[in-house]
């Protein structure tokens, strides 16, 4: 840094006081401060201000870490619940067709005596709350299997 003006020194005071000046620049500024009471007063004032920095509260680090955890990639169609329900219905239709029951016999809500009517495999039975077991099977599909299923639905 060549011949310094008060303006250029005051421009650089924050950098100097942060200890971030190059050694040659720091020496030149300090030399100016030694002979310039006005710039020295400004350096004193800035030193006074710098005592009161604001630190983040400790809990913020935890909040930020939790908020920035990358979740595993999931299917995220806008109509995912509707598609899932439709796919579950298709699976249930397929299961019932395999078991020899016609579409006119299908009920989405399981009858109270469902176990007595059809000896279905355990994994394909509707749950007690009426939710078809197929929706559980859907959750366990791989991405490729789900893509294939959706393609079939579209066709």
């Amino acid at each position: 840094m060549n011949r310094l003006t008060c303006e250029s020194v005051r421009d650089e005071l924050p950098t100097l006081l942060a200890g971030a000046c190059a050694p040659a620049d720091a020496a030149a500024i300090n030399a100016h401060l030694a002979v310039c009471p006005e710039c020295r007063a400004e350096a004193d004032f800035i030193t006074r201000l710098r005592r009161f920095s604001v630190a983040a509260p400790p809990e913020l680090a935890l909040r930020v870490r939790a908020a920035t955890v990358q979740r595993p990639r999931r299917w995220a169609f806008p109509a995912r619940p509707a598609l899932a329900a439709a796919a579950a219905l298709l699976i249930a239709l397929g299961v019932l067709r395999l078991l020899g029951t016609g579409p006119d016999q299908i009920a989405v809500t399981a009858p109270a005596d469902a176990d007595a009517l059809l000896p279905l495999p355990t994994g394909a039975l509707p749950g007690a709350d009426g939710i078809l077991a197929g929706s559980v099977v859907l959750e366990s599909l791989t991405d490729d299997e789900l893509a294939l299923l959706l393609a079939e639905m579209e066709s």
């Binding site: 942060a18 020496a27 030193t47 009161f52 630190a55 930020v64």
Partner: protein
Amino acid sequence: MNTIVSPRPAPAEAPDDAALVERARAGDRPALDVLLTRHLDAVYDLAFRLLGDRDLAQDAAQDAFVNAVRGLQRFRGEASFRTWLLRIAANAARSHARRRGRRREVGISALWDRPGDAPDPAERAAMRSEAERVERAIAALPEKQRLAVTLRLYQGLDYAAVATIIGSTEGAARVNYHHGIKRLREMLQ
């Protein structure tokens, strides 16, 4: 008060932001954590200066980091990561400010509470009083002066980075800084 300052000693070996950003982009979570931790105070400080409210500043800081992580693949390195992140933080804080409406009175009381800096109770009380005066004076500055002063004094940013964050030219950032310092000196004489 002694104003003669020694130049900074040689920095210890630590990955710089650019290297950490590359690692974080490749899915290196520990690298991302180092980045988040390194800039946490700066982001919070900026949000606090804009909002004047500790809780809102935390919300804005969290939003800023979430937005930054989501946009990390789009970071081109035209400015430093710190400058890029602080610009995101300024936008997040302004968004919170718009939702809140009028700027609230600055909640000063918990700003300065570092017992290690002044173990003596009387000295601590004096420091807290001084901290309140300083923070109220800074909070009274117009936004661009406030940001120029705090980004320059507390974050050590150069004028080009300050200009990027406050959305002005470098010359205007310099003018805002000097006007802010002048007004603070008048208020705190």
